[in-house]
């Protein structure tokens, strides 16, 4: 039988698949690379068919499920949760429980923050520093919700708490939009994928950027001057999860995969590929040596305490954010 994964780039490394298929010779793994938005869009179009296991981030499940009914509840008894970091598990459960059913369990987690080449832009500290005219034409960001939230925090707002008051949230978004439009001049280009970003950063075309920590850690191994910097207002933390599409057909294989990749020796391989930490106990030790070093170079203990987990997105917010992003994209600078 075939196990069809809908997941992030790097979340299903060739080596892990090989080991999995060795262990379960009658299962054949097929991978489709995606991101949060596309996962939802795809599953919406298929009505939850076409894939057996998806890996959306913890904050993007509730609304999508509520509106489009694309997932089915997990049977937690089939998952070996003994090793899973309880805090993360609890957080994910809380975010993804609908009518008493749990829809997701955590897999990898990491943060979004800043990346800088410390030799060229040593004073990047806050989201807003990307708009520092000193680095005009030498910074980048991804034009997605992360930067909206980050910028809001940098402007002293708390967007997550405004989720309950959408009018308030709209005000924040408007402010953020103005700021980012003004910042457009400073940006070389909006990156669209990890690759874009890596190439620009490594070649020195940009010196600082908004980033996923995993990308920054990867680059650290190529060039130790490139560091991940948690913003002053706190890095935004995400947890990518396992969720089962409503019309998944290979449930058994899917559970096997979940259990398989949560094993410590597999986690090692997995983390080497994703650059992110698994949500199991002692995950940091399972990172490859160079990544551990990168994490150490990036985070202090306060930084970890200061992490801001993405809050569940209530219905409607995505639309507001989408409009704001369009506005920024369409605004002209020179």
């Amino acid at each position: 039988e075939t196990l069809r994964l809908l997941t992030w780039g790097g979340y299903a490394p060739e080596e892990v698949i090989r080991l999995f298929e060795e262990k379960y010779p009658d299962i054949n793994v097929e991978v489709t690379l995606s991101n949060n938005e596309e996962m939802i869009a795809k599953l919406r179009a298929t009505g939850g068919a076409g894939y057996d296991l998806a890996q959306p981030s913890h904050d993007r499940i509730y609304a999508a499920q509520y509106e489009y009914n694309i997932y089915k509840p997990l049977d937690l008894s089939k998952i070996d949760l003994s090793n899973v970091e309880p805090k993360l598990l609890a957080g994910v459960k809380e975010n993804t429980t609908i009518e008493g059913q749990v829809y997701a369990v955590p897999h990898q987690w990491g943060t979004s923050g800043l990346m800088t080449d410390i030799t060229k832009a040593p004073d990047i500290k806050s989201w807003g520093d990307l708009c520092d005219p000193k680095y005009k034409g030498k910074t980048s960001m991804r034009l997605r919700r992360t930067i909206l939230l980050g910028t809001a925090f940098a402007m002293g707002e708390d967007p997550f708490s405004a989720y309950s008051d959408l009018a308030k949230y709209q005000q924040i978004l408007d402010k953020v939009a103005d700021k980012l439009i003004a910042c457009k001049d400073n940006i070389k280009a909006y990156w669209k994928g990890g690759d874009d970003l890596s190439a620009m950063m490594l070649s020195g075309e940009i010196v600082a950027s908004e980033t996923w920590d995993s990308t920054a850690f990867k680059l650290y191994s190529q060039n130790p001057n490139i560091r991940f910097v948690p913003p002053e207002t706190g890095a935004l933390a995400w947890i990518d999860t396992f969720a089962m599409p409503r019309k998944a057909q290979a449930d058994a294989a899917a559970y096997k995969w979940i259990n398989f990749v949560l094993q410590p020796d597999i986690v090692k391989l997995m983390s080497a590929s994703t650059g992110a930490m698994a949500s199991i106990k002692g995950a940091q030790e399972l990172l490859p040596a160079d990544k551990q070093e990168a994490v150490k170079a990036a985070f202090t203990a306060e930084d970890i305490d200061n992490l801001k987990f993405f809050a569940n997105i209530p219905p409607g917010v995505e639309d507001m954010e989408g409009k704001t992003l369009e506005k920024i994209q369409a605004a002209t600078s020179n």
Binding site: E67, K188, A189, S203, Q329
Partner: protein, 290 residues
């Protein structure tokens, strides 16, 4: 012999069946479905209402129609450039190149057609990025000191699009010009015309069906292209198809996406219709022939 006529009847219906299935199921109904969807408005999750709200909100949002206008203008620009750049090439292939090199040149023209948009854009990225081949060559030759970024500007998008669509301009041009009797050009000179007169009064009017056909296809392809503007475009560039994609994929707003789709199709059709009227041609005399 009566059965003869019945056989013809039967074969007409047998042949009409696949055509009808194709046009109705894969072309007409989907477009109607999209039109229908565009008339549905999302009030709240799982709550919909029918009306023109999506169109109203399109009209009320300058970002959207600016993008549409921008896409159309740039597509027209690309079409014009493709015509200006492609015409001499088509003329050369059809009328000047020797018999043997003509075939070879035509093959060369076609080769980029056989690799995908993606690879072409990928190639341009490798060439044009700040640390890319062109910039490096310029630095190496000492013409410039620092790296130059050619990517992420509207000009790059235009170049990339011209590159992508120019074949569809050249091919119909070659095939119309090919049919032109050389004697007509010679007659043009013989009767006293100079190079410019012959071009303006004879060659271009003769090639008009090819020109219009090439322009229509080029314009539609450009307006409907997705990858090239996405991959080569800069932070300011927005393309209407990207908006459609965003509506569908990142905002799950199928209603708005469908509205955009209907509008793109309607708008580009109107542009083509105006072009046909202005040039006095029709779809069946141009695109159908080449």
């Amino acid at each position: 012999m009566r059965s003869q006529r019945d056989i013809r009847r039967l074969s007409l219906f047998l042949l009409l069946a696949p055509f009808a299935l194709w046009i109705v199921l894969l072309v007409a109904l989907p477009q109607l479905g999209m039109l229908f969807l565009s008339l549905r408005e999302k009030i709240a999750p799982r709550v919909y209402e029918y009306g023109f709200a999506n169109y109203v909100s399109f009209a009320g949002e300058p970002i959207y129609w600016n993008t549409l206008l921008r896409t159309a203008t740039m597509s027209l620009l690309v079409t014009a450039l493709a015509l200006v750049i492609g015409f001499p090439v088509a003329y050369y292939i059809a009328k000047i190149a020797g018999r043997r090199s003509r075939g070879a040149l035509f093959l060369l023209i076609l080769i980029p057609l056989w690799v995908s948009d993606l690879i072409r854009a990928f190639g341009w990225i490798l060439l044009l990025r700040e640390t890319g081949v062109v910039s490096s060559l310029l630095q190496w030759s000492g013409l410039v000191s620092g790296g130059i970024e050619f990517l992420y500007t509207d000009a790059t998008v235009v170049v990339g699009l011209v590159y992508t669509v120019i074949l569809f301009m050249i091919v119909p041009l070659v095939s119309t010009l090919d049919g032109m009797d050389e004697a007509m050009i010679e007659a043009g000179y013989n009767l006293g015309g100079n190079g410019f007169t012959v071009l303006r009064r004879i060659i271009i009017p003769y090639a008009m069906p090819g020109i219009v056909s090439g322009c229509i296809v080029t314009f539609m392809l450009t307006a409907g292209s997705y990858l090239t503007p996405i991959l080569l475009g800069g932070k300011n560039s927005s393309w209407f198809t990207a908006q459609i994609y965003d509506q569908f994929i990142t905002r799950y707003n199928w209603e708005a996406g469908a509205t955009f789709g209907v509008l793109l199709l309607a708008f580009t059709s109107v542009v083509v219709w105006i072009g046909l009227k202005l040039s006095g041609q029709s779809l069946s005399t141009t695109v159908a022939r080449s």
